[in-house]
């Protein structure tokens, strides 16, 4: 029987299909849940086998502000999932991964929403601990960075987003979607520490493009001005954070602005990993996600780094939780 691992995030839904022979095939769908959550059922329906499959589910989209509470979000998402698959498989074929590392039924998940809220990182951690029993696992996706300590084969991270934020295990900075205003409210420009705009003018995707850390086609979210993901358009956008344009400043100066934000960004990554590293005495880091190159730049001087792209492939790196949750179910069925 085929297995599909489904990771419903705030901005992207990722689906990994693993067939009977263990081969995987991964799909990404950009689905901004804060405004298009009504499309979730249709997206899931269009990206699954015809019949005879099992679903392993993780989610983070319940935090989207289309839902007043996580409970409302979890229940609405699970209802959409049920509707998507109901005419193809029995409800028992759908299982939800919880933050303690177990699969539970959809009904149980609905009644215990905090157990399944934001459990995607936990699925990945279960996979990672097979690779290294003592490491920090760092996953920088489009929107956030998970920083998960694993010691003696035990996943030691806190189990909800609030506590993960409080303990440096969740850093809300990603490779694409983070507004630059979050990285710092002052940058150096022409030798002066300068204020910057707080408007939604440019995002980390622009810095990633300008610094050469991702390709134009990796920049899968909407740009701030709705224009292209090219270097040229990214430079126009980044000039706006100083309320200026490429008439008033040069392209070289716009690149300098990107470098300033890149430094602030790397420092925030390093500071957060360093707190977790000191707390648990861990120096090995396993990195994954779209931001692998950025994580390498931020961490390579202080840590021993392995990457999921090297250990598996780029597809798995870009959708690790959906791969992981499918793989966990696959392994458990095999045994």
């Amino acid at each position: 029987m085929k297995i599909i691992g489904v990771d419903i995030g705030g901005a992207n839904t990722k689906i990994t299909e693993i067939d009977e022979k263990g081969k995987h095939n991964i799909k990404h769908v950009y689905l901004p849940m804060w405004k298009e959550n009504h499309r979730l059922t249709e997206v899931l329906k269009n990206n699954c086998p015809e019949s005879d499959f099992k679903v392993a589910l993780v989610m983070t989209a319940e935090l989207a502000d289309s839902y007043a509470t996580k409970e409302e979000g979890v229940v609405a998402i699970l209802d959409a999932v049920l509707e998507a698959y109901s005419d193809k498989i029995p409800v028992e074929n759908i299982e939800v991964f919880d933050t303690e590392g177990n699969f539970i039924s959809v009904e149980e998940a609905k009644n215990n929403h905090m157990r399944v809220s934001a459990s995607n990182w936990r699925a990945t951690a279960e996979l990672i601990k097979e690779i290294d029993e003592n490491c920090i696992f760092v996953d920088m996706g489009s929107t956030t960075t998970d920083i998960i300590p694993i010691k003696n084969g035990k996943v030691l991270a806190n189990d909800n987003d609030l506590e993960r934020l409080m303990n440096n295990e969740l850093l809300y900075i990603g490779t694409l979607r983070t507004p630059l205003s979050f990285l710092t409210n002052q940058i150096n420009f022409r030798g002066t520490l300068s204020n910057v705009s707080s408007e939604y003018f440019a995002i980390t995707g622009d810095v990633s493009i300008i610094m050469g850390k991702i390709s134009e086609s990796d920049y899968t979210c909407e740009t701030a001005d709705g224009k292209s993901t090219s270097l040229e358009d990214s430079l126009i956008r980044i000039s706006k954070v100083l309320c200026t344009d490429l008439n008033q400043i040069s392209k070289e100066e716009a690149i300098e602005i990107a470098k300033e934000y890149y430094e602030a960004w790397k420092k925030l990554i390093d500071n957060n990993v360093s707190t977790v590293s000191s707390k648990y005495g861990l120096k090995n880091v396993i990195i994954t996600g779209l931001g692998e190159k950025i994580l390498t730049d931020a961490l390579e001087s202080n840590y021993n780094i392995k990457s999921i792209t090297e250990l598996y492939d780029k597809d798995v790196s870009l959708a690790t939780p959906s791969y992981a949750v499918a793989k966990i179910m696959y392994n458990r069925l095999k045994i």
Copy 2:
């Protein structure tokens, strides 16, 4: 002849009409120029006398990311202005205020876009220097805070936004629209310095409501989740910056989150005013704008404060540049 002072901002267009007797009447229109700039002509047309009037214009909306450069923005805005009034008054009746304190023709403004880009603060400064020849004028509107030094009756601020950002004369924080993520990327919660979300979950308007600094009807921009401007909805929004909700944390804790952001906000205001104060040796501060109460909280212990609401009235405080540019033209015509 009546005079209308028009201030076309990124989020709001404000129009002050001064009649032959010097009486003023002020209108606010929420017009988000980054997505609805095509509506500008219609908004102006619907908010002016039938005929026989003069227009005094200032703008900042040319920075909106619907325009690739400021030049493109200035020209497009002036074209919209011409179209709005062309069947009612001759083009000579429209004058644009520049950053040096002079009125110039629409044609001249088109050919010298940097002279009229972001000149609204300059109009207000011309008005303020009549009140106090040695002061810092601080205007916190919905989106930004202008910090303008006036010494011996001379307006000493830099004349474009880039240089104003570089010299602490423009702080990109306002009473309503600033994403909380811009104020700080870490806050204290339950005794721990905690990361926060960078999603567009809550804005300064929510903190202003929770701290009791504005009324629900003052909160004129869209909320982050599209829900109401009530205290209750603001508390729901602010809980999301810690990826939590009002099931997981208490209302009192949500209020504590708002207090943390309010402290960070006041500190940023104080730091920026303090830099300008030291540079020019100025201790008198004249405050205006929707954020007067917040400016008072941030500055009253270190400065001598007068407010435009007390000196004029609340209407003028909420739309000072449009009032000022109309008043300057009125005074010059009288003389």
